[in-house]
Symmetry: C6
Subunit: 284 residues, 6 copies
């Protein structure tokens, strides 16, 4: 029966899972910085949420994993994570995959394709899908759609060969008894609009930037970061921080400030780093 | 004589028919959700219709099968099924093919072409037509014209090599005594307009989305789905459901709601799934 | 002498003539449906004309055959048949070729080129012209210029390689003593305008659609079709038929109505077929 | 010395001259149809002129031949003949070459390049120039620049590879002691403007169409054509003939009328042929 | 431990460092010409700054080197140096790399890629990154992004193949324990805007031209240049010098003036050289 | 030491110098036709100047040669000669190279590249630069940039592959101890603007056409041309000559007039030749 087959497959054939690789993406852990934070411990890993609305959506994502696992009527679900750069799309997708507990978990990432031709990329992608079809339950992450598609807004130029293959594969109902959950990330709304890609997915989730001083403060107080910082400075930083800012950029500036300040972190040093990284104003 | 030849061909050479593959497309059955529903049982399969106008058209489709079978003067008929995503074009085409009872039934689907070059795709398509010409009666399904043609609206880009081959093949009168019925599906009106494709077909049928609460209700009450749901909730769902909605999307949301609600389906959960799948509003 | 050489060539080298293939195009015969109809029996074949103006032009076409045959000063004549889809261009060209009685008659048709590369197509075309140059009198039909040129209006895209070869070949005066009559068909005025093609031909003929109820009626009463139909219904059909309509489309709808109506043809059924084939309104 | 070398070269190496081929282009002779006609008998050939202004220009062309022959300071002259289709550019160039009496005369014509790739065409052209550089005096005809360049106005598209080679070769001063006269013909003003080609030539000559009834009459009375035609009909034809008309087109219509009218030519038949060839109005 | 590994690596595997090559770029030394000059002697090399604001930024650059060295949380930092031609971007990057004291220092420069295909360039770039990943600490200089990308503003045209590879490689977190500092230079703001490149970098620094007479004067008085020049002439030069001017262009004009004036430099000769090099006015 | 090395190199390795080829370009000598004419005899060759401003610039050009020879701080100088067709850019560059007395002098001219592919051209160019780097002092002439780049204004189209290589090579500081002077000519301002090429050069010089009757007269009186012409006619010619006119075109028309007029040159004949060559008015 299915559960039995799943169990065995998991033991023997777990070569499909790239746990190490995926854990890399969330090596610093996921920080709780929203009002509606809900700690959903699952195994040794937890996921934090940016805002109530996202909590709802992530709930939905857990549901999607369950949906694929439990219902025969939905052998294919495809989710699109879309939002500005550095908002944590890759981390969320990696976390979802790790928690899914599926025997086949594969990330299709542009890093593995550097220098390959369009044809070679398409074949590599197709063969990962083929492997998935041979496993009862799979998660496939399509990380950074714009890079996978070699998209550049001027023109626009992109690989139509890869695009067409992806659109077919994302829509393809796997041969029985395989079931597949596809999670794609994309940081360019233009890519989706130009290429009619959003419609291809069953479910679409928007991942936002931090947009309130309150949220920045929540990050500053996070224990895992272990920042030495006085309450006064903390307030100043939270208020002077340019908004919106992505979680990734905020963490980078904080780490740079930490290294620069031998002692406690000061708002002045923080502001200098923000400027130095060109966040506010920047190169025109 | 022809009938005799047809009979023999059917027995021996039935390798052309891909019944399993086609039945996959309508594995969940076809649900009756329109006013003008007319149950046309044929073998173990039935087809439901969305609205009176469509009934007429589908009647016409049955006629087309008969036309090709019975009249020597029309050895070639080509039908275009056109409508938004998920409206059931592929299911209708598969159903028609299965019921046609023709000895050669082949679906030309982009899934089989992933990663192939334009040249290879064109040759694969041409060789399927060549096989059809060797059989007295054939149905060829050209599923998802936009994907077969590698079309993308920006540019627009597409494979002119495949397009030209298709336009010639769709118009080519088969050498005697072969007779061919071609059924193509397409979900992008722009593809048809940009590429002057609509004119290439003898018959054109528009497949609509569900656009009335009444129709949604009809789906909810369908026995085959076996949904546990109170009449009050059913009314609420039918009224709150965003319209128009495709049959495919509606069925997906319902299935997700069913799995989430251990007990009976509630309108609240239904609405949450609708939102989570990004139907209303969605990623901009 | 020339006549003698012509005679011998015709007997021995008649491999150039594709009578069967050509007769296919006018297998249903040619119907007389115009005011100015003039039955010009020639052998077992006759040609009907749509309107007085066309009669004049077709007269001219017969003249062209004679011109090439009789005058040494015009070893090359090139005719362009241009008009909407289904107006009978291919049939007229085939008929002309069959009646020409020339020893070398060849149709260059896109059907024979499916899947070939531009280079291959160009070579195939050039080699047919080379064969013609070795025969005293030849007719070459360039059927469906837009498909031969792989033209698509968006872009526009087409094969410049084939276009350039065609423009040179259509203009090339054959080496003595060969004489060539070139007949090309084209259903897209844009092709001619975009590619400056009309100027390349010596003679240009416009082939129109049926545009009067009277003409439709003439077709309905044609004996060769053998339609069972009362005079009342005939009037109704002629009046309700959407105009203009091409002869090919009209014949298709009539044949479909004939098969559907076991008994006599009714205007109601005719109208239903017209609608079902999407002529009026159609897919937008 | 030079004259001596020239003489010897002419005897032995006259393989470069293509007299037969060139004479073909003016097989029907050149007809005198202008006010300013000046019969300049030269050997067995004569050239007629369309108008006084052209006479001057053609005089200049004879001068150019002499210039290349006699002055060491101008080892390279390049002439562009430009005008509408059928005005006689190719005939004039061929005539000039034949009368030049140069040991190396070669026409580079698109007819010889059908189906060749851009690279192959460029090499063929370059090797003809190389041969010319090995002869004391050469004429090279570049016939139909727009076809040699594979130009089509939509886009526009053309072979940049051939264009660049031509621009370099037309400008290249031959290595001593070779002297070269280049004569190019072009019927599209757009080609010249788009590709900046006119500037590449030393001398530019405009070849016009017939634009006066008087000129048409002059052609009709030409003895070489040997037309049977009464003075009354001649007047009528000259007056009803659509203007401007190219000499080539006029000759074609006249020949067609001649064949059709067993007896004397009538204005009525002439007008019918003019219409039939689509000159007036034509295919839109 | 890391420090130990780093030390050993440096001794043995120092083949990665291209000191000679880098020193070439700053062979003339770096001249202090700003108000806010701060001499930061480091080893045998020093860096001068154009203005206070830049001092801050360059401070930040030293910090970046330290950041990569000292913090495990930032294994990848990427810096973009952007500014007009000749402002010293390459010199600053080379200086930074030399002072970094990292065991692997490599400059990816278009000079090494002349005549290579896109594919070959991409592979060469990727393999340099691969080498870096095998070293604990690396600096990679991407010199002249616009040339590496084969960018030209008309079109615009560029190598999308190289662009996509660069965008992935610049963002790729190196596998543990490698740490990489990437420094890129670019003199075209359009390149960054067209190709969305600025966002790819963690830190962005703007390198300006000299824009005040005062700054020009500072250069004139620099001892390293050893210019013979009276105070009066110096004032005149500083005031008449067209502004803004890049440091590279200023140094060139000064050197040309020095060679021309056997004795002391005069403002007149300086102005003549400025004009001769087409700085003011120039070719339109 | 350097001077010694230079001397030896010159004797043995002088294969790099193409004196014959270069002298061809100025075979007719250089004529003094400006107010500000300054005869700068150097060896057996002299250079004339069009106007005072140019004198200054050419002075500068001599300086550039000296600059490269004498200063170690400027191992690379690049000069752009830009002006309308026929103004003498190639002659000036060739003259400069011949007078430079450098051991390695090479002209990169489109004539040598006819029919080569982009790749081959790029490699040929790169290998000439490589040879230069092995010699102490080199002059490289890049003649006719627009042709080397295969530029055509419509599109515009050009070889980006060659362009990128040229931009890198023109900017590349030669490895010690080599020093290089690069002289490029270009007659299209659009090429420079479209491709951002002007900025790539250190020095830019504009070469003008003759724009005054006075200048034309100066040419007419030049002894080297040895024209037989009365003072009255000379005045007439100078006044009627269309202006501006390039030196090359003027010399051509004069030579054609000289050959036509057996005796003394007349203004009437001159005017006729000017018209015949299409200078005034021309082909539109
Ligand atoms: N609550 C959180 N949600 C997401 N990421 C978080 C959270 N807390 C901390 N992080 C960290 O923020 C970083 C987000 O970076 P990530 O690469 O996932 O962003 P991204 O949206 O994929 O960026 P890009 O658009 O550049 O691909 C990760 O290092 C992750 O560990
Ligand atoms: N009456 C019906 N008509 C059509 N499909 C129905 C009907 N009832 C239920 N269905 C189901 O709805 C689904 C329609 O999906 P299908 O793939 O055929 O749509 P589509 O129009 O081809 O979509 P796409 O544009 O994405 O190709 C099928 O699963 C089919 O079984
Ligand atoms: N008088 C007629 N003239 C032309 N065709 C006729 C006539 N009467 C009957 N026909 C029939 O009409 C049909 C015309 O179709 P045909 O393929 O020649 O049209 P077409 O203009 O070539 O179409 P397309 O533009 O699609 O190539 C033929 O089957 C022909 O036998
Ligand atoms: N006076 C004349 N000048 C030129 N051609 C003449 C003259 N008299 C008669 N002819 C005839 O007219 C015809 C002109 O055709 P030709 O092919 O030379 O024109 P063209 O300008 O080259 O046309 P295209 O633009 O199509 O190449 C030739 O057959 C030539 O013999
Ligand atoms: N303070 C300074 N900062 C930068 N460069 C300086 C400074 N002082 C002197 N220089 C010299 O100025 C020159 C700057 O040239 P460099 O090639 O680095 O400029 P660039 O911005 O890279 O130019 P490009 O945009 O053409 O690549 C170098 O020769 C460098 O030695
Ligand atoms: N003072 C002069 N300056 C330049 N050229 C002169 C001068 N006097 C005479 N000449 C002659 O003028 C001609 C100029 O032609 P050249 O090919 O150098 O022009 P160009 O600008 O390179 O033309 P193009 O733009 O077509 O390449 C040469 O033959 C040269 O000998
Ligand atoms: Mg990501
Ligand atoms: Mg479908
Ligand atoms: Mg046809
Ligand atoms: Mg011609
Ligand atoms: Mg630089
Ligand atoms: Mg030149």
């Amino acid at each position: 029966d299915f559960t039995q087959a799943l169990h065995e497959c998991k033991k023997s054939q777990s070569l499909g899972v790239e746990e190490d690789d995926l854990k890399n993406d969330i090596s610093g852990g996921l920080i709780d910085y929203g009002d509606g934070y809900k700690k959903i411990k699952q195994g040794s890993c937890f996921i934090s949420m940016i805002a109530i609305s996202i909590v709802m959506r992530l709930l939905t994502m857990q549901d999607l994993v369950r949906q694929v696992k439990e219902s025969k009527a939905t052998p294919l679900l495809s989710v699109l994570l879309c939002g500005p750069k550095g908002t944590g799309k890759t981390a969320i997708a990696a976390n979802l995959a790790l928690e899914s507990d599926f025997p086949f978990v594969k990330r299709i990432s542009p890093v593995k394709f550097v220098g390959m031709s369009e044809m070679q990329k398409t074949q590599a992608i197709a063969s990962i899908f083929d492997s998935a079809y041979k496993t009862p339950l799979s998660v496939i992450i399509l990380d950074d759609l714009e890079r996978l598609l070699e998209y550049v807004p001027v023109g626009p130029r992109f690989s139509n060969h890869i695009l067409q293959a992806l659109m077919v594969l994302i829509n393809r109902i796997p041969p029985k008894p395989a079931r597949v959950l596809i999670v794609a990330t994309c940081s360019s709304a233009r890519v989706l609009r130009d290429l009619n890609l959003a419609d291809v997915f069953n479910v679409r989730v928007q991942v936002p930037e931090l947009s309130k001083a309150q949220e920045v403060e929540k990050v500053l107080t996070n224990e895992d970061l272990g920042l030495k910082i006085s309450t006064g400075e903390m307030k100043k930083i939270a208020e002077s921080c340019p908004l919106p800012i992505s979680i990734k950029q905020l963490l980078l500036v904080l780490e740079m400030t930490r290294v620069a300040c031998k002692g406690a972190i000061t708002a002045e040093e923080f502001t200098r780093r923000v400027e130095a990284t060109g966040v506010a104003g920047g190169v025109k």
